[in-house]
């Protein structure tokens, strides 16, 4: 079934891409079918918890790579959320994009694939599957954030999002590998709780990964930037998907790693910090969408904090907040998108009188906002209530710190909610009402549905809490005793909640009136600067490593040879005493002549002189061949030498006669390295001489005998060349032929370059 649903998504994406230019309605319908299917499946699974649904597909058995899916109750709950909100988003997008929108097909296709990646992520049971879909959401969200890529800001934001979440993915991979090492299995469902150093390392790595994806401080900077995406994307990204990935990761590994102090302390600290920083960020904004985005950051911190606590009650509260957040946050973003589309602005300083001109939208916003603030009669209330209870249920200092953090964070949440609702729908600063274009049903209906769900979720709290309890119990078995309570009565937690709402509302109202300074974007700038500095650093390294100067490259290589040869020095020193000075006096004389002539080559200033010196070297070497007993080499060398010297003269004879001068210091470096290289070669050869033994003597006698018998010739060298090692000769002559082709090509470019169009056809030509 998971495969079928994923396949359905892929098909839907392709179909939407293909159909969008022909029939918009059909494309939208097709794109909505896939997530709707997923939602239905999630719902069915939630209603019937008795059967576990798992399926696997082995990809690379030897590496234990594969697609392993398991639909646990928590996954089913998320599937329902992802699928249902995804469906609503597609409908919403239909209303959001102005007619006609050429990129709609691309948008719907990417959105569908993104949804599929998210589904895969929540179903993943093996760590590889998790990683795969994790990175898939990174890549698809990159495309979604950068959808309006003609805009430079969108491109930068997309890059920031991809690099932070993508790099986080690699950390996840590393962390998971360590975790496998610690637990001995790659199946998440089979991992036993573990502690120790390995577990601590895994905990740190996994929390870093979760922080990147779920926008925890300080990796939160990509999330507000992702607002560059079209609003349907923001609604989807911020509610049910993407940003929840990290939270889910924390929730899933919490039973395994919760035993390590590092995991608990780190996740709670990160969560609390993020909750505050996000809420403060939200209070700073004047852009309605950014208020919500920062609000998401805060909520994510809240969730990580809850899952980090690790008690059954906290886990239950976490799942409840997760579900409630998915519903109200999607609704709120849809509202912002509608406001944006109908008024042309999202700046709360410019908006005014919308409560009157857009009453339905305002109602939806108020409902979703109240749910976010944790006010009855909405789903957010029992969820928040559970969280407060969980905090109060702790003991000792933990109760003080965590309880305080959650309460303070909740106050701020109420504050920015008030700030948002009043800012967007309240009277404007200058008292004028904003002009509003006519509403569209497709924009309003999905948000209205979500608002209704928030209410219904509260009313039928019994029905709502069943799947939430089951999901929480999947993470922490002890959680199955808890349920949502829509009206708790006069409990301690209730009074705390009331206080939270009152204080928060006052704060928010005050904030909304106040004129504060411009929102800080330090974090985002820092991230971009870091990326740009990476590029600068890369340029510096490259400038140092890649000078573009060939002599430097060659010299580097010669130096490496010299360095490598150091190892030969010691055996060479041992062997050198046993070596014969020369096989014959003639050899010694010719060897010295060779060196002398080679030196001459470097000293002669004119090209003709150099060619002559080269000829002398050739002759001396030929002499060495003679005394070594290699007549074939002699003959060949003489002929070759002649051609080369002649070639040197006729090929370069017309050039300027003297060689250009180079700097003295550079010359010294060259001479030194060349000398070292020569010494290295000598050491290598001498060491080899020392290593030679009679046991490895070449089978000359057999070779000679067989050459005469089977090769049919007395000149052994020739037999080797044309028979024994004919393949070498075969290769060698092909090399010659190709080199000759190259000579012609270089010498006669006119023959080689195509005669017909040398320049590309111009536009006019193509049109004609």
């Amino acid at each position: 079934m998971p495969f079928l649903i994923l396949f359905l998504h892929v098909v839907a994406a392709i179909a939407a891409l293909a159909l969008a230019s022909r029939s918009r309605a059909v494309a939208v319908f097709v794109a909505a079918v896939a997530p709707a299917g997923a939602a239905v499946w999630g719902l069915v699974a939630l209603l019937d918890p008795t059967t576990t649904r798992s399926s696997s597909f082995v990809w690379v058995e030897g590496l234990q790579l594969g697609f392993d899916f398991e639909l646990s109750p928590i996954a089913a709950l998320l599937t329902l959320a992802i699928g249902a909100i995804g469906t609503l988003i597609v409908i919403y997008a239909h209303g959001y994009f102005a007619h006609p929108e050429p990129t709609l097909g691309r948008f719907l296709a990417t959105l569908t694939i993104f949804g599929a990646s998210m589904l895969g992520l929540v179903w993943a049971d093996s760590v590889w599957t998790l990683f795969l879909f994790w990175e898939a959401t990174s890549v698809t969200s990159f495309l979604l954030v950068g959808h309006k890529n003609a805009n430079a800001n969108a491109r930068i934001a997309a890059r920031r999002a991809l690099m932070i979440t993508g790099a986080g993915g690699l950390v996840l991979l590393a962390g998971m590998m360590v975790l496998i090492d610690a637990t001995g299995t790659h199946r998440l469902s089979e991992m036993a709780p573990t502690t120790g150093t390995t577990a601590t390392i895994a905990a740190v790595l996994l929390l870093v990964a979760a922080a990147t994806k779920s926008a925890l401080v300080p990796a939160h900077v990509w999330l507000p930037g992702a607002m560059a995406a079209p609003t349907p994307v923001s609604a989807y990204l911020h509610s049910a998907t993407m940003v929840k990935a990290g939270v889910i990761l924390v929730a899933v590994v919490s039973p395994v790693l919760g035993g390590t102090d590092t995991f608990r302390v780190l996740s709670m600290t990160l969560g609390a910090l993020t909750m505050f920083w996000g809420a403060i960020g939200a209070l700073r904004q004047r852009d309605a969408k950014l208020i919500l985005a920062w609000g998401t950051v805060s909520q994510l911190g809240f969730l990580v904090l809850l899952f980090g606590i690790g008690t059954a009650k906290a886990t239950f509260a976490g799942v409840a907040v997760l579900a409630a957040h998915a519903v109200f946050k999607a609704g709120l973003f849809m509202v912002v998108g509608e406001v944006d589309v109908r008024t042309g602005t999202r700046d709360i300083d410019e908006l005014g009188g919308l409560a009157r001109s857009m009453p339905i939208t305002a109602t939806i916003a108020a409902l979703c906002g109240l749910s976010m603030a944790g006010v009855p009669p909405l789903l957010g209330f029992p969820a928040k209530e559970a969280a407060v209870e969980a905090a109060l249920g702790l003991a000792g200092t933990e109760r003080l710190i965590i309880g305080g953090a959650i309460i303070a964070g909740s106050v701020l949440t109420v504050a920015y909610t008030t700030h948002f609702v009043l800012g967007v729908f309240g009277p404007s600063r200058n008292g004028t009402a904003t002009t509003v274009s006519p509403g569209r049903a497709a924009l309003m209906v999905p948000a209205a549905i979500l608002a209704c769900i928030s209410i219904l979720g509260w009313i039928f709290d019994g029905t709502t809490s069943k799947p939430i309890t089951r999901a929480a119990a999947a993470l922490n078995a002890k959680a199955d005793v808890y349920q949502l309570i829509n009206w708790p009565g006069a409990t301690q937690a209730f009074f705390v909640s009331v206080a939270i709402v009152i204080v928060g509302a006052i704060l928010g109202a005050a904030r909304s009136r106040a004129q504060l300074r411009v929102p800080a974007t330090i974090g985002a700038n820092a991230a971009d600067t870091a990326l740009d500095q990476t590029l600068v650093l890369a340029r510096r390294i490259t400038a140092r490593m890649q000078h573009g100067s060939l002599p430097v490259y060659v010299l580097t290589m010669a130096f490496v040879v010299a360095a490598v040869s150091i190892i030969f020095v010691q055996p060479a020193l041992e062997a050198v005493g046993d070596m014969t000075v020369a096989d014959s006096p003639g050899q010694l004389a010719l060897a010295l002549a060779t060196v002398l002539a080679a030196w001459g080559c470097t000293q002669v200033d004119s090209r003709i002189g150099a060619a002559l010196a080269l000829g002398v070297v050739g002759l001396a070497v030929t002499g060495l061949f003679v005394v070594h007993g290699a007549p074939d080499l002699v003959l060949t060398q003489l002929l070759v030498e002649t051609v080369i010297v002649v070639g040197f003269v006729i090929g370069l004879g017309r050039l300027r006669r003297s060689f250009p001068e180079t700097g003295a210091r550079w010359r010294q470096v060259r001479a030194a390295v060349a000398g070292l290289c020569a010494a290295g070669v000598a050491a290598a050869l001498i060491a080899a001489e020392g290593a030679a033994s009679s046991a490895t003597a070449p089978p000359t006698e057999r070779l000679v005998a067989e050459a005469v018998d089977e090769g049919g010739g007395n000149n052994i060298v020739n037999v080797i060349l044309t028979d024994v090692r004919a393949l070498d000769t075969f290769g060698e002559i092909v090399v010659l032929a190709v080199a000759a082709l190259g000579v012609v090509a270089l010498g006669r470019p006119a023959l080689v370059t195509p005669k017909t169009p040398i320049s590309p056809p111009t536009r006019e030509e193509v049109r004609a």
Binding site: E61, R159, I541, V564, Q570, G690, P749, I758, T762
Partner: protein, 498 residues
């Protein structure tokens, strides 16, 4: 056909076809038919060889029936057969692309490309199949001379200038290769690699290690490993797309291939730390260069260097998992890199330049091209579920198994940076506003051929990803054979014929 004949054919057939294609150089149709037919036949032969090797194991051929200590031995084991098939199939795809690109300023000259690609093919086959160190030198020269001419044959200023770097560095390496052969022959009395596998380990430690290092330098230069990589990013981008694509996919890989072959066969585990350091440095400088430059072909060229580091990492671990990782990296990387350069060529076809600053907005105009680029680019960055992920994952897994944490960290970081540089290309070429000025689109029929060839290549990378399971099994088998080369040695030496 016996497997022995098959191995011989793989080396000689392309040469014969090259001769024919050269003879027919002025008859375009016949010449192209010969080239394509020969490459197709070669691909088929390589396929058969792989199938046979999987079933029957390693096969050696003694050319002319001469004993292995006298004559030349060609030998096909799993590693050779696997990499060879991928390499040759890649060349075939590029040749199809070349047919489409000929009449443009970026196209290679058809009269030479066909024969030279065939020579190159033969060189690649020979270097992978040879069991003889000196024949390996000849094979290298075959590849190199063909590449020299392919690189410079249009004799434009940039090509001649960069050709210098390429030719000079490689000629130097070739001279060092010969000196290395001399050292080896003097100390062991043979150039047969199977015999070397027996005799080199018997040498004194410093000499043995010295020989290992020496060939690390020689093969490292061909492979563009740190610090001997600089010639590559200077020269490759200047060649016609077709040529660069082949170079990118194959040449450096032959260097690494031989390094893996030689160093595993002669048991050079002692060099492990050196190779790992070189691997890490190669990854880092390569990716730094890719991030620094602003031209698609340059960026991709630096990535060749960077990715070489991963293969070296596999070798450096000297474990079955590591070497198997390197083997599957070969299989993934050859087509992916080639296809990336082909898409680079398509970009050039569209806009007339591969500079990022002169490109933009291509995703809107050519969405299919964007997809063709994105798939291999993500694969290169090692994102799942593409082929690069399996390869990189295998290497990282092997690294963790071997507790070589620093190299694992570098490998992961370089993965992220690779992604950043791919994003850079994506944002420069496919996103943003289209560049101003005339952007002459290619004519349709030719474009179809170009896009077709590239699509086949991209599809091939996807096939590799989907077949990763069996491929991994083969890679593991190949790695076992490489680390435990008794079968190889026995097959070559067997009963020495009188």
């Amino acid at each position: 056909m016996t497997t022995e004949t098959l191995i011989g054919l793989l080396v000689a057939l392309p040469i014969a076809a090259a001769g024919l294609a050269l003879a027919l150089r002025t008859l375009p149709r016949a010449r192209d038919v010969v080239t394509i037919a020969a490459l197709a036949a070669e691909t088929a032969l390589a396929g058969v060889l792989l199938a046979r090797t999987i079933n029957d194991g390693t096969t050696a051929v003694r050319l002319g029936g001469w004993a292995p200590d006298l004559g030349i031995v060609l030998i096909a084991d799993l590693f050779a057969a696997l990499v060879l098939l991928v390499a040759i199939a890649t060349i075939l795809v590029v040749e199809v692309f070349a047919l489409g690109q000929r009449r443009t300023p970026w196209g290679a000259n058809p009269e030479l490309t066909g024969p030279l690609l065939l020579v190159l093919t033969s060189g690649v086959a020979l270097s992978m199949l040879t069991g003889d160190l000196f024949t390996l030198f000849v094979a290298f020269e075959l590849i190199l001379v063909a590449s020299y001419v392919l690189l410079t044959h249009r004799s434009e200023a940039a090509q001649v200038r960069s050709g210098m770097s390429y030719v000079v560095m490689n000629l130097f390496a070739s001279a060092l290769f010969l000196i290395g052969v001399a050292v080896v022959y003097r100390s062991t009395g043979t150039v047969n690699m199977a015999l070397l596998a027996e005799r080199l380990p018997e040498l004194d430690e410093p000499v043995r290690v010295g020989i290992g290092l020496w060939f690390l330098v020689v093969f490292g230069t061909k492979a563009a490993a740190f610090p001997l990589f600089s010639w590559l990013p200077d020269s490759y981008p200047t060649a016609p797309t077709t040529v660069t694509a082949v170079f990118a996919g194959l040449l450096t890989k032959v260097g690494v291939y031989v390094l893996v072959r030689f160093h595993t066969l002669t048991g050079m585990e002692t060099l492990q730390p050196v190779i790992l350091v070189v691997a890490a440095a190669t990854m880092l400088v390569g990716v730094a260069g890719a991030l620094a430059h602003n031209d698609v072909k340059r960026i991709l060229s630096f990535h060749i260097v960077s990715q070489i580091g991963y293969m070296l990492m596999g070798l450096g671990l000297f474990s079955v998992a590591g070497i198997a990782g390197a083997v599957i990296f070969f299989v993934h990387h050859i087509p992916v890199k080639t296809v990336l350069f082909l898409t680079g060529g398509l970009i050039e076809e569209e806009t007339g330049t591969s500079r990022l600053s002169d490109n933009g907005g291509l995703a809107m105009r050519r969405p299919f091209l964007a997809v063709l680029f994105a798939i291999p680019a993500l694969s290169l960055a090692g994102l799942p579920p593409f082929s690069g992920f399996v390869a990189k994952f295998a290497l990282i897994d092997a690294g963790i198994d071997a507790r070589s944490i620093p190299i694992v960290v570098v490998a992961l970081a370089v993965s992220a940076l690779t992604l950043l540089s791919m994003v850079k290309i994506w944002m420069g070429v496919f996103w943003g506003a289209p560049p101003r000025g005339p952007a002459p689109p290619a004519t349709e029929p030719r474009r179809r051929l170009l896009v077709g060839a590239t699509s086949i290549g991209v599809a091939a990378t996807l096939v590799i990803a989907s077949l990763a399971g069996p491929l991994w099994n083969l890679s593991e088998r190949a790695a076992n054979e490489l680390l435990e080369p008794t079968a190889y040695i026995n097959e070559v030496l067997g009963s020495v014929t009188p």
